[in-house]
C-alpha cells in the first residue's frame, strides 16, 4: 500500500498543478464575482495539499504499521483487462451488430471469462440477453438503440 499511495500522491500532485495553472489561465474573477477559473484554482490547491499529506503520511508512519502488500496483483490485472477488453470490443461492435446483439455477445464472453465452465450457459447467455433486450427495451419500452446490419 505504501508504494501505491506514494505513486497516487505524486499523480494527484501533477493533476493539481495542472488545475492551478489552467485555473489561472481562465479568468479568476469576472465583474467582481468569481470567474470560471476560481473553482479549478482552489480545487487544485486543495488537491495538491491533500496529495502532500498523503505522501507525507507514508513517510512518517513506521514501517511495521504500513503493510507492504500490493493490492494490485498480476492475476487481478489479467482478469480486469479481459473483462474490460471484452466490453470495449463489444461496444465497438455495436456499429456493426447493433446494441442488442453485441450485448448478447458480451454477456457470453463475460460469463466465460468470469468462470462459468458450461458452454450451455455461455450459449444461453448469447441468446437470452438479445431476446430480453429486444423485448424489454425495443418492443416494450421503445428505447432507440443503435441498430445493426440486421435491422435491430
Amino acid at each position: 500500500m505504501r508504494t501505491v499511495d506514494r505513486a497516487t500522491g505524486v499523480l494527484l500532485l501533477l493533476v493539481s498543478v495542472y488545475l492551478v495553472v489552467s485555473g489561472l489561465e481562465l479568468e479568476y474573477t469576472l465583474e467582481d464575482a468569481p470567474g470560471p477559473g476560481f473553482l479549478p484554482f482552489w480545487a487544485g490547491v486543495i488537491l495538491g495539499l491533500s496529495a502532500i499529506f498523503l505522501v507525507a503520511g507514508t513517510l512518517v508512519q513506521p514501517k511495521k504499521k504500513m503493510k507492504e502488500d500490493n493490492p494490485l496483483t498480476g492475476r487481478g490485472m489479467a482478469v480486469i483487462i479481459s473483462v474490460l477488453g471484452a466490453s470495449v470490443m463489444a461496444v465497438l461492435l455495436t456499429r456493426i451488430l447493433g446494441l442488442v446483439l453485441s450485448m448478447g455477445l458480451l454477456a457470453a464472453m463475460l460469463v466465460r471469462i468470469l468462470g462459468s465452465r458450461s458452454w450451455l450457459t455461455v450459449g444461453g447467455m448469447a441468446l437470452a440477453i438479445p431476446v430480453v433486450f429486444y423485448l424489454l427495451f425495443i418492443k416494450w419500452l421503445g428505447v432507440p438503440f443503435p441498430k445493426g446490419f440486421l435491422g435491430f
Binding site: G124, M125, Y134
Partner: protein, 344 residues
C-alpha cells in the same frame, strides 16, 4: 451445478420465444434494405419506392421537457392524430453540448431522409461560438413553423411600470438592476447585451440553468427583471404573479395587444427564434417535398393552431423549404454580427 441446469432450461425457453419474436420482427429489416436504395435511381422495371417506408427518427438535440422537445412532440402528435404521414415519427432526444451533439448526429446521416431534426437558436449560435463542428450548411431546410420571441418580465408588485422607468433607474445607478437569464451565450444574454448597447446602460446579468429557474428567481424577487418566451410565462401573467413590460418582436403580439415592443419604447432591438425542421444534407428531393407538404398540412390543422401555437403564445409562420433556407442564412448572419460586437 444444478443451478446451472435450471438456468439452461430457462434459457432454452427464452430461445423458443426468440424464434417466434424473430419471425415477427424480420419485416422492418427488409424495409430498411429497400429504404437504403431510395437515395439512388430506382432500377429499371422496379416500382419507384414510396417515401416513407419505415419510421422516421425525429431528433431533438435537447433534453426532454424543453422548448424543442415540446415542439417535436407536438408535431409528432398532430401528425399522428391526423394521419398525415403513413409512418410514425419517433422522437429521440440527443442532448448535450448546447445542441451540438444532436446536430452532429443528424448531420452524419447525410443523404438519409429517415432523420429529421428541430431547429432553435443554438442551431445558429453554437457553430459561431466554436461549440459545434456542424452549421446550417450541413443540413437541408424542410420547413419553418413558428417564430418565438421574448418578453421582458417583472414581478407583479415590482416598482417598475414601463421599460423607460427601468432604463432611467439603471442609467442613474449602473448595475443596480439585475436581469435573470440562461447562460452567457443564450438569446436572453444577447437581448440584454443589445439593450445595454442601444440604451447605453449597464445591467447585472445573472445566469441560471434553465428558464424555469429564472422564473422562480423572478417570482421570488431574487432578480429584478428577466427575459422569457411569452408562452413560458403565460400562466404567471394570467395568475397576476408577473407582468410583461415589453416584447422583443418587431410588431405587437396578437395575444398581448397592450404590450409595446422594444422598438416602440425607443430601443431599436428585436429578436425572435425561428423554430423549424431540417433534414441531413443531400437527401432526395421528393422526400423533402413530402415532408414539407406534411408539415404544411399539419400547420393548417386546428389542433396545431390551438394546441401548440396559441398555448405557447408564439407566432405561426409557415415557410417552405426554400424560404426557410433563406431565413436561416439571415438569422445566422445576424447572430454573427452580434457575437462579433460582444467579443469586442
Amino acid at each position: 451445478m444444478k443451478r446451472y441446469r435450471i438456468w439452461a432450461v430457462l434459457l432454452v425457453v427464452i430461445l423458443m420465444g426468440a424464434v417466434v419474436a424473430g419471425c415477427g420482427g424480420s419485416q422492418p429489416s427488409a424495409g430498411e434494405e429497400t429504404a437504403k436504395e431510395e437515395g439512388k435511381e430506382p432500377a429499371e422495371g422496379e416500382p419507384k419506392s414510396q417515401y416513407p417506408e419505415r419510421p422516421i427518427e425525429f431528433v431533438v438535440p435537447f433534453g426532454a421537457g424543453g422548448g424543442s422537445d415540446i415542439l417535436a412532440r407536438s408535431i409528432a402528435k398532430v401528425i399522428q392524430d391526423h394521419n398525415l404521414i403513413d409512418q410514425p415519427l419517433m422522437v429521440v432526444n440527443k442532448p448535450g453540448g448546447s445542441g451540438s451533439v444532436g446536430y452532429s448526429y443528424l448531420a452524419e446521416k447525410k443523404g438519409d431522409p429517415y432523420y429529421i431534426g428541430t431547429v432553435s437558436s443554438s442551431f445558429y449560435t453554437a457553430p459561431l461560438l466554436g461549440k459545434s463542428p456542424v452549421s446550417y450548411r450541413d443540413f437541408t431546410p424542410v420547413a419553418g413553423l413558428a417564430m418565438d420571441t421574448y418578453g421582458l418580465f417583472v414581478r407583479s408588485d415590482s416598482r417598475f411600470d414601463s421599460l423607460q422607468e427601468i432604463l432611467d433607474e439603471v442609467k442613474a445607478n449602473p448595475k443596480s438592476i439585475s436581469v435573470g437569464g440562461t447562460s452567457g451565450t443564450s438569446d436572453d444574454a444577447v437581448l440584454t447585451f443589445l439593450l445595454e448597447e442601444k440604451a447605453g446602460v449597464d445591467f447585472t446579468y445573472v445566469p441560471f440553468e434553465s428558464g424555469g429557474e429564472v422564473m422562480t428567481a423572478l417570482l421570488g424577487g431574487h432578480v429584478d427583471i428577466s427575459w422569457a418566451n411569452p408562452g413560458e410565462a403565460l400562466s404567471q401573467i394570467e395568475a397576476g404573479k408577473a407582468r410583461v413590460l415589453a416584447v422583443a418582436s418587431k410588431e405587437r403580439l396578437p395575444s398581448l395587444p397592450d404590450v409595446p415592443t422594444l422598438i416602440e419604447e425607443g430601443v431599436d432591438v428585436s429578436l425572435a427564434q425561428f423554430r423549424g425542421v431540417v433534414m441531413p444534407k443531400d437527401v432526395p428531393e421528393d422526400a423533402v417535398k413530402y415532408m414539407e407538404e406534411a408539415l404544411r398540412k399539419m400547420s393548417e390543422t386546428e389542433d396545431w393552431k390551438t394546441g401548440y401555437i396559441e398555448k405557447n403564445m408564439i407566432t405561426a409562420r409557415f415557410l417552405n423549404s426554400e424560404e426557410f433556407g433563406k431565413a436561416i442564412v439571415e438569422l445566422s448572419n445576424m447572430y454573427e454580427q452580434v457575437f462579433a460586437e460582444l467579443s469586442k
